[in-house]
Every structure is written in C-alpha cells, then in structure tokens.
C-alpha cells in the first residue's frame, strides 16, 4: 500500500535573521492511509515548521514531499492553495472560525474555494453532513460565540472534512481546551480515524498523544523517536472514567 505522505530528506532553513536557522534537518518519513500520528517535541524542536510544510503552507528548502502521489515541493502559491483545498483539512489550536458567521457557513468555507462548482444547496447539504459527523447538526445556525470551546473545535473539524481531504492536519487541537473537552475532541478524531481518515496532529501533551496510534518525537529538527502506541487510550472509556471521578467528587463534597 502506497504512502499518502512521503517526506524525503526534508530541510528547512530560515534566512531572515542574521544567522540562518536550520529548523528542520533532514526528515524522512511516510504516513500511510488510516494512520493516526502525533507529532511531539519541545518548542523549537521544528515540529511547527514540519507541520507547516506537511500542510503545504510552507515549502521545504531542500528535499522532496509527495502528497497522495504528487510532488508538491516545487509548486507555486496558487497550486499549493489548490492542494490544501482538495487534499488537506486543517484544525487549528485557536479554532480560527470566522466570527459572526454561522457554524454552517464556516463549514462551507473550503467548498467556496473548491474545484467543484457546488450549488448553494449542495454546499449546505455537505456542510450539514460534516456537522452531523461531529455531532453538531443541531447547532448549524449558531455563531461561534454561542458555542463552547469544544463545540467550536468540532465545527472546525467539520470544516476540515468539508472537501473530503486525504489527510487531516491538526495543530495543537486541544491546546485551548480543558481536559474533559480535550478527551471529547480526541474522541471525534478517533471516530474519524476509525472511518479511515488519516490524521496527523501536533501536540506537546503526552496523554493526548496516547490517543493516537503512532508517536513521532522531534528534537532540533530531527526525528529522534518513532513509536507505535502500545497502550492506546480510547476516548469513550476515558470519558466514562472522568464522569465517575466527577460523581465521586460530588458525593464526597456533598
């Protein structure tokens, strides 16, 4: 089975300062369809840079990046935009939903720039489907400020799914959420992954990484560990545990 993502000796050097910064120093890796990868590392390890390149937001200084069989390392600005639109879905730490725009319209956003000339009705139908997947179809007409953080992130996930991407990229998706909501969001990711969607996420939280299938650790721009998660956490079970703990706390305090 061919890899969805193939990186060959990827380097990224920033020349903007006085001293060139070698952020990523020769990363080679492959992600296959259906994988669920956590990209970990301290700040400055190069994981954000690597993530930007995986997301086709940035181009490697050296090396080759094949996404779904296409070499994207040499593409121009607009071509990269099309790749992002058609093959990738983005989930950000800060959600990045458009304010004063309904959940539904937020989910429609990537379709507006898509290659398929969808009618308004088709866009609406697909957006509702995506909201249904993340369990928020009842909130389609809500504005982001009427939704909780967890709900906002789920809307963002629905938006990432809109154009049926090959890979879902999440940059610290639980960074702004409390632990219970984080588990809920990880539950959504696990559910999507079970349906066969490839997910790559950046996180610095070890316990969050335990919900993934494979953990990569970066240090100083190099991959220093690549492990399969042995004892994977499952969101429904963890949520049940959390609820039980909450109930206990209520009993003791009462």
């Amino acid at each position: 089975m061919s890899a969805v993502v193939q990186l060959e000796d990827i380097h990224k050097i920033y020349d903007s300062g006085e001293v060139p910064v070698h952020a990523v120093r020769g990363v080679s890796l492959e992600f296959h369809r259906g994988e669920f990868v956590a990209l970990m590392g301290a700040s400055g390890s190069g994981k954000s840079t690597l993530m930007n390149m995986l997301g086709c937001l940035d181009r490697p200084t050296r090396g080759r990046y094949r996404l779904d069989g296409t070499d994207v390392s040499g593409l121009g600005r607009d071509e990269l935009a099309d790749i992002r639109c058609q093959k990738l879905g983005f989930v950000f730490q800060g959600f990045n939903l458009l304010a004063r725009t309904t959940a539904l319209e937020n989910v429609e956003l990537p379709m507006m720039y898509g290659p398929h000339r969808l009618s308004g009705r088709d866009m609406r139908r697909r957006a509702l489907e995506c909201l249904e997947i993340v369990g928020l179809s009842q909130r389609a007409d809500h504005f982001p400020n009427q939704l909780s953080g967890g709900q906002q992130q789920r809307v963002a996930i629905a938006r990432a799914l809109a154009n049926k991407p090959e890979v879902l990229l999440a940059d610290e998706p639980t960074g702004n959420l409390d632990s219970k909501t984080s588990v809920e969001v990880m539950g959504v990711f696990q559910q999507l992954n079970d349906q066969g969607i490839t997910i790559v996420m950046v996180t610095h939280e070890l316990d969050i990484a335990q919900y993934c299938k494979r953990n990569l650790v970066l240090r100083d721009g190099r991959i220093v560990a690549d492990t399969t998660v042995a004892r994977r956490l499952l969101a429904p079970a963890e949520l049940a545990k959390l609820r039980a703990a909450e109930a206990d706390a209520r009993l003791t305090s009462g």
């Binding site: 930007n52 997301g55 937001l57 940035d58 600005r77 607009d78 935009a81 099309d82 992002r84 639109c85 058609q86 983005f90 950000f92 800060g94 990045n96 458009l98 304010a99 004063r100 725009t101 956003l109 990537p110 507006m112 720039y113 898509g114 000339r117 969808l118 938006r159 154009n163």
Partner: protein, 402 residues
C-alpha cells in the same frame, strides 16, 4: 460561482459594520453630492444666461463710437461722437446681410407723468428696434418711420416705468413729460427682466431716435447702431462688412468706432460661470480624493482586523486573487453605494436650492452616470492597495496574528 460567493462575503462584511461603512462612504457621499449639485447649478445658470443672451435679440451686432484723443487725453470706448445717422443708413442700404438697423441715442432723464416722477433710461431708437430685440409690446404698438421723420412726440414705455408712473392704470394714450416735453404713450412693452449685467431692461422709455436727438438730448451723433444679421452664420461676415464700410466712409481717417457682436457678450458672461464651475469641480475632486483616502484607511484597518480570517481563507484553499477580489469588491461596493447615495443627496440638494433660493437648477443626467462611474473608480483605485496587501499575506503569519 467563486465570484458570486466572494460578492456575498464582501456584502456581508459591509453589512456587519453598518455604521462604519456609512461613515466611510460619507466622504464620497458628500463629494458626489457636491458634484451633482454644482453641475445642476452650473447647468441652470448656463441655461439662464443662454435665455438672457437670447433676450438681447438674435444675431445682434453693435457698432460703438470709438475713443478720441484730445491734447494727449484719451477717452474710453464710446467717448467719441463719431457715429451718424448716415452711417446707419449706409449700413442698411449697402450691406445685404443686415436684416434690420436701429439708430440708438440714449440718456438718463427724469420723467414726469400722472403727478409722479421717475428717473429712467430714455432711448431714441428706430422702429426696427423691437424686432431686433425680439421684444413684443404688451399693449399698443411701436412708432413708425413716419414718426421718426416727423420727430413725433410718441413713446413706448417698459413695464417698470409703467408700474412706477401709472400704478393700477392703463398708461396707453396718456402723456409723460421728458424735459417738460409731452410724449404720448403709444405702447407698453412686455416684461423682459434683468439682463446679464443685472440691469432692469424694463426700466426704459423708447422714443423715435430723431425725437430723442433733437428734442431730448440735443445732439447730432448717434450713441450706437444696432444691426441684426440675417443668420448666425452671417454674423462674422456682416461684422466685417460693417467694419469695412465704415472705414471706407472715414476716407482714410483713423477708424473711430468698434463693432462687437452678441457672441462676444455671451462669451464674457459664460466665462464667469465657467470659472465658478471649475472652482467647484476642483472642490469636488478634492472631496472625492479625501473620500477615497477614507475608504483606503478603513480598508487597511479592515485587512489588519481580519488578518486571521484571511489566513484561514488562504489555509483552506483561497487563492491570493480570491482575497484580492473580496476586498476590492468590498471597497467598490462601499464607494459605489456612497456614490449612489451622493447622487440622491445631490439631486435633493439641487431641488432645495431651487425651492429656497429660487436659482434655476437642471440636474444633468450625464453627470449622474459620470459621478457614479467616478465613485466606483475611486473604490477600485483606493481599495486596490489594501486588497493587494491582504492577498499577499503569508498564510502562516496571518494565522498566527493576534
């Protein structure tokens, strides 16, 4: 599809900040309203001037006496008493393009009638005068060639004089006295109003020129000669022919007359209104530029405010062009709406000016199109820089922007 969506997004962004959009467009609203109002006033003034010029009579050429020099002192135009009745007769006789000729001799006189008195302009004229000026009588008629030959004591009076000397009476058949000479009123002129120079044209008493020269002013020379050319195309030719004829009649003496035509008066009058129009146009252009800068300013603010939105759009696949078009549309819609509102305000203002100031105002339809076009162009011109700035944002930096 892409463009339709982008338009929707742009319109929604404007609707969200209604107050801000309105204030931003205000500069343009005022600018366009000023252009419309000023063009309307200018047009109204122009048509009024045209009407006044027409009231001078059609294709009229005036011969004035020249200046004279006496012991080194030079008089101004008309100072010389060099035009004669014979000159006028020669023009009427020898120039086929001269349709009508009137000898003029004017003076200001204290006129008495009906126990009242009034200082007015007394004009000695030929019977053709009223034809030349296209000036019909309201009641009665004018004097005849016979009256001229006999130096008859008859007069045709203007509306103002009639009102002043014969309030609530019919002046026809009554007598008025000029320098104690009784003149019988044979006609009352219709009202003509003020001329280009603000003089009341109805404040006048017309008498046969011979009567005026012999009995009233006691002079032997004419004040001026009015000539009506057969057509507008003939004016220049007839003017030249008069010039040649009178020069020839001077037998090599220095020409002591000037020949002017009505077009020159018209040019003088329109020059003033043109200057006003240009000044106002400059003011309007300035306010359009100021309005445009206002739009650019708010669009720059908007781009900065929405950096993360732009980042998100770019991340999910928007091309730079999509973002450019989105912001450009926003500013064009803003300026276009501003222009449209400005046109309405300008028309309303023109109406109010007509209503309260009584100025004639004509809203020119071409200028409605022009100002709408210009305001839209202002949107494109001043919106391009902010829109390009937005389109060129780096998605990574834009997403990280706080």
């Amino acid at each position: 599809m892409r463009l339709a969506n982008t338009t929707k997004v742009a319109l929604r962004a404007l609707r969200r900040n209604k107050m801000r959009s309105l204030l931003t467009a205000l500069g343009l609203i005022i600018g366009v309203a000023a252009v419309i109002a000023m063009q309307s006033i200018g047009n109204g003034a122009k048509s009024q001037i045209e009407a006044q010029i027409a009231s001078l009579g059609q294709n009229v050429i005036t011969v004035f006496p020249g200046n004279f020099t006496s012991g080194g002192m030079r008089s101004g135009w008309g100072g010389a008493s060099s035009l004669t009745v014979e000159d006028a007769e020669a023009i009427a006789r020898e120039i086929p393009g001269a349709l009508a000729v009137s000898c003029e001799s004017r003076s200001r006189e204290q006129v008495l009638a009906n126990g009242l008195n009034w200082n007015t302009q007394v004009q000695g004229e030929s019977p053709d005068y009223l034809q030349i000026r296209a000036w019909p009588c309201a009641t009665g008629g004018t004097f005849s060639e016979q009256d001229v030959r006999s130096m008859a004591k008859v007069a045709v009076i203007g509306k103002t004089v009639a009102d002043q000397l014969f309030p609530n009476q019919d002046p026809l058949g009554q007598t008025l006295r000029i320098r104690n000479i009784p003149f019988k009123i044979v006609g009352v002129l219709s009202a003509k109003g003020f001329n280009l120079f603000g003089q009341d044209q109805d404040d006048v008493v017309l008498v046969p020129y011979s009567s005026h020269m012999k009995r009233v002013a006691r002079r032997t020379n004419l004040g001026s000669i009015l000539v009506q050319a057969v057509s507008a195309e003939q004016i220049e030719t007839v003017q030249q022919q008069i010039n040649d004829l009178l020069t020839q009649r001077r037998n090599g003496r220095e020409p002591d007359f000037t020949v002017r035509n009505q077009v020159e008066f018209a040019q003088m009058a329109t020059a003033t209104s043109k200057t006003m129009t240009i000044l106002l146009l400059v003011a309007a252009v300035v306010s359009l530029v100021v309005g445009g800068i206002g739009i650019m300013n708010i669009m720059l603010v908007s781009v900065t405010e929405r950096t993360r939105e732009i980042g998100t759009r770019l991340a999910v696949g928007a091309h730079g062009r999509d973002v450019l078009v989105q912001f450009l549309l926003e500013s064009v819609v803003l300026s276009g709406c501003g222009g449209a509102i400005g046109i309405v305000v300008g028309i309303v203002a023109s109406r109010l000016i007509t209503h309260f100031m009584g100025w004639p105002v004509i809203v020119p339809p071409v200028w409605i199109l022009i100002s709408f076009g210009i305001s839209t162009l202002v949107g494109v011109f001043f919106g391009y820089y902010p829109a390009r700035k937005a389109a060129q944002l780096d998605p990574i930096e834009a997403l990280r922007f706080e």
